[in-house]
Symmetry: C2
Subunit: 434 residues, 2 copies
């Protein structure tokens, strides 16, 4: 078999056999297939598409291209959750302890982020001492003892995906449903959990710009997941405006803690309760979603949820005192108030503009080696649908350097669109597919 013949086949819109895809992935990992071969194949696959059968096979091959975690030594059903990424998306920080507080094991492998803000692993860095580079043995031990652990992606997990992803990023082949499906699902399969919840964000601040695209991706993820014997549920949720009120690492950890204490923003609380309930139901801890929500709300009000988060921080070497003393986390030196220039209703609050503002302040990175400023970010005071007057406080910028502040001020003003009439707010969770 020759890679050039495989490339020509996909170029001509023909379907690959499982043997051909195996040849592709094996060669990718052992280095016999070069970057320039792969990027030609990726472009051909982007334009000509991959069938469900090809996507399923590719997902499986990518999942098994490196180590696959064996969680069978941990008794009970293990759940995992993944988000396609949004602005102010601190769901994992709330959801994981919340689910674990109800006795379902959360075995979560997260990545660092590229772009506007960091990923979950980056956010964890705001908690002093907390380690996400646990060994697999430490990870398993923690699952057995406290039922929750969160680690960064290890070197040996889905090496084929790592190579593919790095190339897709620089060759304009990211936005392909089959390639996205294979990338997301292969990582989740390699991570070993039994039940997987995928949060598919759509809107200006998300990877998928429209509900239609998000729905197509969701259906493909569920279909391919099922073919591979995994219980996959997707939730399609709005990311046209940021989730919650904070964007930035320390700020988001604080908001997550507040939510676990029952004092979080309504949208974030609602989303986390719903997702946690779905997972409890899938794990057969409860008979109905409603029963699950009652149990979870109780765990917030009786302190079990925040207590689980405390346990988690401590187990991973972090300082659990942050829960009651936010000043232990990195803070920004300057606070800049943003006032409304108009009177009316906030008809739009652009997630992407808010994200770019946060990035200008230092909360994001362009390259893996860039350093994130954990203390900076944007604190929203007003969200979509609210009425404002000229001079109303819209948001507060948390900044250390004032280098890009002028641009940041323009951008955050641009994020708010003020109109005459209150907008129709779309539902936060648009559809659940499983």
């Amino acid at each position: 078999m020759q890679i050039v013949d495989l490339i020509k086949k996909k170029r001509d819109k023909q379907e690959h056999t499982p043997e051909e895809l195996k040849f592709l992935i094996d060669g990718t990992v052992d280095g016999s297939i070069k970057d320039y071969h792969l990027s030609a194949w990726l472009m051909a696959a982007f334009i000509q598409g991959l069938s469900i059968e090809e996507t399923t096979e590719l997902t499986k091959l990518m999942a098994y291209s490196g180590d696959v975690l064996d969680l069978s030594s941990v008794p009970g059903i293990k759940i995992d959750k993944h988000s396609t990424g949004g602005v102010g998306d601190k769901v994992t920080l709330v959801l994981a302890p919340l689910v674990a507080s109800a006795g379902v094991i959360v075995a979560k492998i997260s990545g660092r982020g590229l772009g506007h803000t960091g990923g979950t692993v980056d956010k964890m860095d705001a908690i002093p001492g907390l380690r996400t580079d646990l060994t697999i043995d430490e990870f398993l031990h923690q699952l057995k003892t406290i039922g929750i652990s969160l680690i960064g992606q290890t070197q040996n997990l889905t090496p084929a995906d790592k190579i593919f992803y790095a190339l897709r990023d620089v060759t304009g082949t990211v936005e392909s449903l089959p390639l996205i499906t294979a990338s997301i699902l292969s990582k989740k399969i390699a991570a070993g959990a039994d039940i997987i919840l995928l949060d598919i964000k759509y809107g200006s601040g998300a990877f998928m710009k429209t509900f239609e695209d998000a729905k197509k991706l969701s259906e493909m993820l569920v279909t391919v997941g099922k073919k591979l014997g995994k219980s996959v549920t997707t939730a399609i949720s709005d990311m046209d405006q940021p989730l919650g009120f904070t964007i930035g690492h320390t700020l988001e950890v604080i908001e997550a803690i507040e939510t676990l204490k029952g004092k979080g923003p309504q949208d974030l609380t609602k989303l986390c309760l719903r997702y946690a309930a779905i997972l409890l139901h899938k794990a057969k801890k409860v008979k109905t979603i409603e029963e699950a929500e009652i149990l979870l709300k109780k765990n917030i009000s009786n302190g079990k949820a925040i207590e689980k988060f405390r346990e988690f921080i401590e187990a991973q070497g972090g300082n659990p005192d942050v829960i009651n003393n936010y000043d232990l986390m990195p803070k920004a030196e300057h606070h800049i108030d943003i006032l409304s220039e108009h009177t009316g209703f906030v008809t739009q609050l652009s997630a992407i503009d808010v994200a770019e503002t946060a990035k200008l302040l230092g909360a994001g990175r362009d390259r893996k080696e860039d350093k994130i400023d954990l203390g900076v970010g944007v604190e929203l005071k007003i969200k979509r649908g609210q009425k404002v007057n000229k001079g109303t406080l819209l948001a507060v910028l948390h900044a250390n350097s004032l280098k890009h502040i002028e641009k940041a001020l323009l951008l955050i003003q641009h994020a708010y669109v003020i109109g005459d009439k209150a907008p129709l707010n779309p539902p936060l969770i648009k559809e659940i597919i499983s």
Copy 2:
């Protein structure tokens, strides 16, 4: 400007601006654009196509990506000829001295071959002492003194094409009309001649399998050539069976010499006379093609054509005695007769099978560094349309090693299809476009 944005543009079937194409070619040559970027772009361009405007701009940029020969110090009109490559294609060896014998300057830059048999530069190696690595000064001096010179591609000519071509070969992006057009024409423009004849072969032994594809390529070459101010003529000719009776380096040089002496095969003689006549007419040496053919035939019969070839060999350091003593060139040790197994008419003589046979004997190369055996090859005794009996001598294999001889014997038998009825022979030259 970012290369990933250019890739996305072509991926989405959008048209590039001249500035974007300049960015692409500049970055290709200076190395800032990497192989994996280029192969993604090439695949996108292959599938989504390039407009005539894009192809023209790309051709120009590629032509000027390195040195462009300045032939203006040589008085008179300079012609160049290129073939898309066929089996037994020794046309340049006949055409160049024939045209030069009529007083039109032939400034020819040729490549080495990859695949079944070598290119013109490889064939020249069969003449002892002959150098094709002349300096540009030597090349120009020879054009001024004897009106004919042939050299290999220099390092600095069209570096962008060299990079593109190497990548296209391994990424399944060769058979794209715009990319082929830019590759062929950029090299011819950089080579500096005024009048260009392109021999577009079609059929089993050619790059273009059908007349339709050959015609599309021809039209694109002429159109783009015109836009770039070059007189380009294409001739579409049959390559379903080999040209002439010989395939292999020494064998082809001998056949070319015989043709220049007026004793060559009918098909090769006819093709060369026609092409030479077109070039003489384009160069305004004669009023009509017919007048040109009369002049050229005279130059063959009065010895001027073969004398020009002698001068050329001598000027480039070769031993001109080869003209009368073929034993001075590399020969094969073994001669193996191939007899017909059937009685009937040769309805097909597969050029590709004959080429593969020659390659098995050692006449071709897979990689640039492979060594060619100049003495080996296939000598056909019977061609398409001829009547044969069981036992008629079809061909003679000239071999040194008998390593692959069994496979070669099977293949050459397979090349001949014997049927009941004489086939309709297609015209040798199907169409001239200018």
